[in-house]
Amino acid sequence: MIEFKNVKKVYPGGNVALHDVSLKIDKGEFVFVLGHSGAGKSTFLKLILHEEEATEGSVIVNDYDLSAIKNRDIPYMRRSLGVVFQDFRLIPTMTAYDNVAFAMRVTNTPEKEIRKRVPYVLGLVGLAEKARSYPPELSGGEQQRISLARALVHSPPIIIADEPTGNIDPELSVEIMELLTAINKVGVTVVVVTHEQDLAARFHKRTIYIDKGQVIADTQGDTLSSPSHAMEVAK
């Protein structure tokens, strides 16, 4: 599903964001990628989305080797990923329905299929009745659920959530996380990138710790209490 092999990323100017990162996330897993801001999480995400390219090593996503991917294949690689962003990235002038339909329209899906699929996905995230609302009329939690619906609309094998609870109330965070868990239960791989240690701790899932551009720990189920603790475990 997702594999990093000895990945190094150096930005122009010499800033080393990731250093010799190797990891593998298999089909059907639920994984937290945990780290402080500046630890290298964003770069990790950018490499998966092919927003940036690795300086060394290779990144493989859904059988696409991103170090050798052709430009014309990038859109198709991205269609195999559903992405939920911290800032939702919804278009404020479009209704909830259109925001979700947008993802299908821009991938050239026939309108007939869009009319069937969008209400179904909005139902999955519990927002069927808000289809005609515009993002500014919705709460943060609701907007994030619309964003999740958009990520789900293509039935991607992987959902990647970048700080999905960063901009919403704590009680609503649980709702989002429960939705992601439910999605994972039907076989979808879920990767949640976050700096919230408590959130990861609550769900007892595999957690990959990133610090100073390196994977310092990769635990199954038992979340560690602090990066220093992680460092100890890593030893």
Binding site: L49, E51, R78, R89, F102, R105, T107, R150, H154
Partner: protein
């Protein structure tokens, strides 16, 4: 691309154009002005070229045969001249015809005071040359043609308007170069103006473009509405420019034929008729408008596709 996708993209393109109407109107205005000037330059240079061709056709190369050339030799020379390329028309004047024409001219001169002065020069005493008046197709090749004509058997010498020909050729070339130079500059202006207009739309929708990239839209799909916006600006400008330029040309033609200004009337028949130019104008404008609009829009979106 399926039908619903195409419908969606076209709607987006028209939506951009309307939402951005102030800049759209400004772009249409500038592009129309550029196309009008280009059209006028093109018509002017085409008419100058036609006028130069007309003048060129009036100036014939005269091939003089040797004084003692017989009728048979003249016929053989005629056959040889016919083989030479770049010649459209050959008119033969025999020694007798030349003498008769000269006599006629002299008898009309000074109320016939010198009529009869050439009597006695007929037959073997005829001092005039038999000749071919030859019309050259391409004036730029005139020196080659003249040297070929000089080599024809029984030809004594060739008289050609070479200097005039080179002046006309230079004039035609200058007009063409100036015309194309103007077209190139105006095309550049048009591309910059259109790309700036569309840059505004692209900037306003950069967030949308970013989302499109992450949900897996192809670059060509993202580019399409902006391309439609650009080509629409181009097409609207083309139609407007066509209206202005063809209206003006018809007016000039009418003025030339009815104004009573003698020099204008004397060159009226060298003007290209409207029927011969309108389809080139329309085709050129629509083609240029669409191409310039398309290039302008592609330039403005390039930056945002690099994600």
């Amino acid at each position: 691309m399926n039908l619903s996708g195409l419908k969606y993209l076209s709607r987006q393109g028209v939506h951009n154009l309307v939402k951005n109407r102030l800049m759209s109107v400004a772009s249409v205005g500038v592009l129309t002005a550029c196309l009008v000037i280009t059209g006028i330059a093109a018509l002017l240079s085409a008419n100058v070229a036609s006028f130069v061709d007309y003048l060129g056709a009036q100036n014939k190369v005269i091939v003089y045969l040797q004084l003692d050339a017989t009728e048979e030799q003249a016929q053989a020379a005629y056959a040889e001249v016919k083989q030479i390329p770049n010649i459209t028309e050959i008119k033969y004047t025999s020694k007798e015809d030349a003498l008769n024409q000269t006599k006629e001219w002299i008898s009309g001169y000074d109320s016939g005071a010198y009529a009869g002065v050439l009597d006695g020069y007929e037959g073997e005493n005829n001092p005039l040359y038999a000749s071919f008046a030859v019309t050259v197709t391409d004036l730029t090749q005139i020196s080659t043609t003249v040297s070929q004509l000089s080599k024809v058997t029984s030809v004594d010498f060739v008289d050609s308007p070479s200097e005039l020909a080179s002046t006309l050729v230079a004039l035609k070339q200058t007009v063409m170069v100036a015309g194309w130079g103007l077209v190139a500059v105006l095309a550049l202006v048009a591309v910059v103006v259109i790309s700036n207009t569309i840059r505004l739309t692209v900037f306003a929708r950069r967030k949308e473009i970013n989302i499109m990239k992450f949900v897996g839209a192809t670059n060509s799909f993202i580019r399409m509405p902006f391309w439609i916006e650009g080509t629409l600006i181009g097409a609207i400008s083309a139609v407007l420019a066509f209206g202005v330029v063809s209206g003006a040309y018809v007016w000039v033609l009418k003025l030339a034929s009815t104004s009573g200004i003698s020099w204008l009337q004397s060159i009226y028949f060298t003007f290209l008729p409207y029927n011969a130019v309108w389809m080139y104008l329309l085709g050129g404008f629509v083609g240029a408008g669409i191409v310039l609009g398309g290039i302008g829009s592609c330039l403005s979106i390039r930056k945002y596709l690099k994600v």
